[in-house]
């Protein structure tokens, strides 16, 4: 084995060249992490939205709450089914919810987009344990008051604390901001169900029924019962499945993210190959000397591949640090886009977690290995005599 020190010192000897390559690789890794972090953040948000025991009851054929409708009468039949968990006072943990679209412009823009407005009863809070009011107060039932997630409040006109927004013809006042530990709830506006139903003329029915099953087995039975019962004639899905289906709709985002990473990696591979060719061409005599000293072809190949990997490893570290610095500087990079499953705004944070960073680092390793291979092979193929003779 050629000592690693030889390669490290060689890199140091060509300071500017090595630094430029590390910078280039770092930038590419950073851009890839940015793209991966976007789609991972979106997936994560939809994933933590779900409670493992929760079941959503929707109209047959409806794939999202906003287009679903369930009448009060049928809902009562569902609530009578066995297997629904109860709270301390024996009340079923089942929430009748009305979901409608608000149509509001983002801050700094004029074109409105759809925003999820959810009308709930007090029991809804027991189904979303992480939710808490962080500013202002909770809405009072019977009044046109609403609480808004902190993320949405910052993104939309009219959703700031003490501001007012319209749902169709009704004006609602924002009286509090909430957080819920990430998840899709943080893209919503909550208000009283009866008030919302009167505002949009939808009394006597709801969008969906959210149930907490008593156990995993009860959950399966509950889902099957609702689906099979011809009197009820509704569809039931586990909440996890509901959000997984939505995440599947954002495939285009993943394709674009993957495409960015793929092409950048190819581009960077050429650059790494160039640097390594340069390194090897100017060190022909050294390589000849190493061979003359008795280092085998294998160890020369290894040495140059290692050098290329160190180069890209430094770049990967730089890219990851860049992403983490961005996250630290912004306190979690927040953004929002349309959830293609519901056509409403989904607010989420970029996910620069270990898995995303690892993916970026693996790309850098691929650049190092593939980019360094051809130059390293050339180093190996040099004839000792010719290499020593070279100027």
């Amino acid at each position: 084995m050629v000592p690693l020190k030889y390669n490290l010192r060689s890199l140091r000897a060509r300071k500017v060249g090595s630094l430029m390559t590390v910078l280039g690789v770092g930038m590419v890794v950073w851009a890839s992490i940015f793209a991966f972090g976007l789609s991972a953040g979106l997936d994560k948000t939809l994933e933590i939205a779900a409670h493992p025991l929760d079941v959503l009851v929707l109209r047959k054929g409806a794939t999202s709450e906003a287009v679903s409708g369930v009448s009060d009468a049928v809902a009562r039949d569902v609530l009578a089914l066995p297997g629904i968990a109860t709270d301390g006072e024996g009340q079923p943990l089942a929430s009748r919810e009305l979901v409608v679209f608000g149509y509001l412009p983002r801050r700094g823009q004029t074109q409105p987009v759809n925003v999820t407005v959810r009308g709930v009863e007090p029991v809804a809070r027991q189904l979303r344990e992480g939710m808490r009011i962080v500013a202002g107060r909770d809405f009072r039932p019977g009044l046109r008051e609403a609480v808004v997630s902190r993320a949405m409040s910052a993104r939309f006109q009219g959703l700031g604390l003490d501001e007012e927004f319209a749902v169709q013809e009704g004006q609602f006042r924002v009286v509090g901001l909430f957080e819920a530990g990430g998840g899709a709830v943080e893209s919503e506006v909550w208000t009283d169900r009866n008030v919302l139903a009167q505002t949009v003329n939808r009394t006597g029915s709801m969008s969906s029924l959210q149930l907490r099953a008593a156990s995993a087995a009860a959950q399966e039975q509950l889902v099957n019962r609702v689906k099979a019962d011809e009197q009820i004639d509704l569809n039931a899905v586990t909440e996890a499945q509901y959000y997984a289906d939505q995440a599947a709709q954002s495939g285009l985002l993943k394709i674009v993210g993957g495409m960015i990473a793929f092409f950048l990696t190819i581009g960077a591979m050429f650059a790494v190959a160039n640097t390594m060719y340069g390194a090897i061409a100017s060190r022909a005599r050294e390589i000849g000397t190493l061979r003359a000293l008795g280092f085998g072809r294998g160890s020369i190949l290894m040495a140059f591949l290692l050098e290329s990997l160190v180069l890209c490893g430094l770049g990967a570290a730089l890219g990851c640090l860049g992403a983490l610095a961005l996250q630290a500087a912004t306190g979690g990079l927040r953004t929002g886009t349309m959830n293609p499953g519901t056509f409403t705004e989904l607010a989420f944070s970029f996910d620069f977690g270990p898995r995303v960073l690892l993916k970026g680092a693996l790309l850098a390793m691929a650049m190092g290995l593939l980019g360094g291979l051809m130059p390293a092979l050339r180093a190996v193929r040099m004839k000792v005599v010719d290499a020593l003779r070279e100027a």
């Binding site: 280039g24 109209r59 650059a271 160039n274 060719y277 886009t337």
Partner: protein, 387 residues
């Protein structure tokens, strides 16, 4: 400088692998940047091109999720300067087990092809569809991708509406590559009658009304007149030009423009580092040669220019392959086969040329420091230096 061009070109080719790799790295990255930007610019260009048809979209003030009563249609039609109008009610049904939906509109078979005058449909197929209540017309692109032929049955499962449609393909429309050929059009009445019979609360929803005015000058006045006419009705409306309507969809995706800009910036900076590094290597190797050139009378500015030309040339070649090659690629490959709804994607000329300019700029900037260094090389030191 022109007379030195052969020398510059030969210098580019003297280390073939290095120039090839630098060019390839620029080409691949430029292809990416140009494609990302084209995702935005091609929509703007299409929207701009649609202006000649003087179309206006009328929707509920509360957005696309609002109910636009079908009764509004007749009132819109009776307004002055409205030449023709048709409803376009988004059905959003599921086809077989496919998770990705395609565009399905309930519309008026008598007028829809007058509103979209640029769509081409054989008159006998149109006549057959107009008579067939459960018939539909599909775009040529989606028909090809899904293998539909005239006479095929297409079952659509309701998602927004609790009705299933059983449709028969009566015809296939075509049109220039600038129009969406991935639509399925069916009789609005077929869907609505089913909803009326079950007294479904959102029955009679026209979705949007798309209309056409006779002249371009009438567009703003018609838009205002329609908004005023329905201002105090149960369902107040908003009118958008076709261009604004198209942009409202891009808007939904949020900060996409910003992300594309950041990513491109990172790519361009990475390229600058990489290309500058390559140029620096090639200057270092040629120290002796440069000293020789200067010794025989080449001035500092001409050495500087020669190296700048070399790096711009490499950048330009990379740009031609990446940006123009990308344009060619997407004009040959139809994306709708892999990504439904992207059938209209192409790289506009403006974006491709902008990419080419960017590549030259990368070449120029990356060559600045190395070329300046080359110009500064002292004749004596350079000649003495053993590389």
């Amino acid at each position: 400088m022109i007379k030195y061009l052969p020398l510059i070109v030969r210098n580019v080719f003297r280390n073939k692998i290095r120039s090839l790799f630098t060019g390839a790295s620029i080409a691949v990255s430029l292809f990416l940047v140009v494609t990302l930007y084209a995702l935005l610019t091609h929509q703007d260009e299409l929207a701009e091109a649609s202006k000649v048809h003087n179309r206006v979209a009328v929707m509920h003030k509360a957005g696309l999720s609002g109910q636009l009563p079908i009764g509004h249609l007749d009132r819109v039609r009776s307004m002055p300067a409205v030449q023709v109008a048709a409803p376009m009610s988004w059905f959003g049904g599921n086809y077989r087990e496919e998770t990705v939906q395609f565009a399905q509109f309930g519309t008026d078979p008598q007028t829809i092809f007058k509103v979209y005058e640029e769509l081409e449909i054989p008159p006998d197929q149109l006549a057959a569809w107009q008579k067939d209540r459960t018939g539909c017309i599909v775009g040529s692109v989606i028909a090809r991708n899904k293998g539909w032929k005239i006479g095929d049955r297409i079952p659509l499962q309701g998602n927004i509406y609790p009705v299933d449609l059983e449709l028969t393909v009566d015809g296939i429309y075509d049109g220039p590559s600038t129009v969406d050929r991935e639509w399925l059009l069916f009789h609005f009445d077929y869907m609505d009658q089913a909803l009326q019979e079950m007294r479904y609360p959102t029955a009679g929803n026209a979705g949007i009304v798309m209309l056409r005015t006779t002249t371009a000058e009438q567009v703003p006045q018609v838009m205002r007149a329609i908004e005023d006419a329905f201002a105090s009705s149960d369902a107040p409306v908003k009118s958008l030009t076709e261009k604004q309507f198209a942009q409202s969809f891009t808007e939904m995706f949020g900060n996409v423009r910003g992300f594309i800009r950041y990513t491109s910036l990172a790519v361009v900076s990475a390229l600058l580092c990489v290309a500058a590094n390559t140029m620096a290597m090639s200057v270092r190797e040629r120290t002796r040669e440069i000293a020789l050139l200067k010794a025989i009378g080449f001035s500092k500015p001409s050495v500087l220019t020669m190296f700048l030309c070399e790096s711009v040339l490499i950048g330009l070649v990379g740009g031609v392959v990446g940006a123009l090659g990308g344009k060619l690629l997407f004009s040959l490959v139809d994306l709708s086969t892999v990504a439904p709804g992207l059938g209209l994607f192409y790289i506009p000329w403006g974006t491709a040329l902008w990419g080419l300019a960017l590549a030259s700029l990368i070449g120029l900037l990356s060559g600045l420091v190395p070329a300046w260094r080359a110009a500064q090389i002292s004749v004596i030191d350079g000649l003495r230096k053993v590389v």
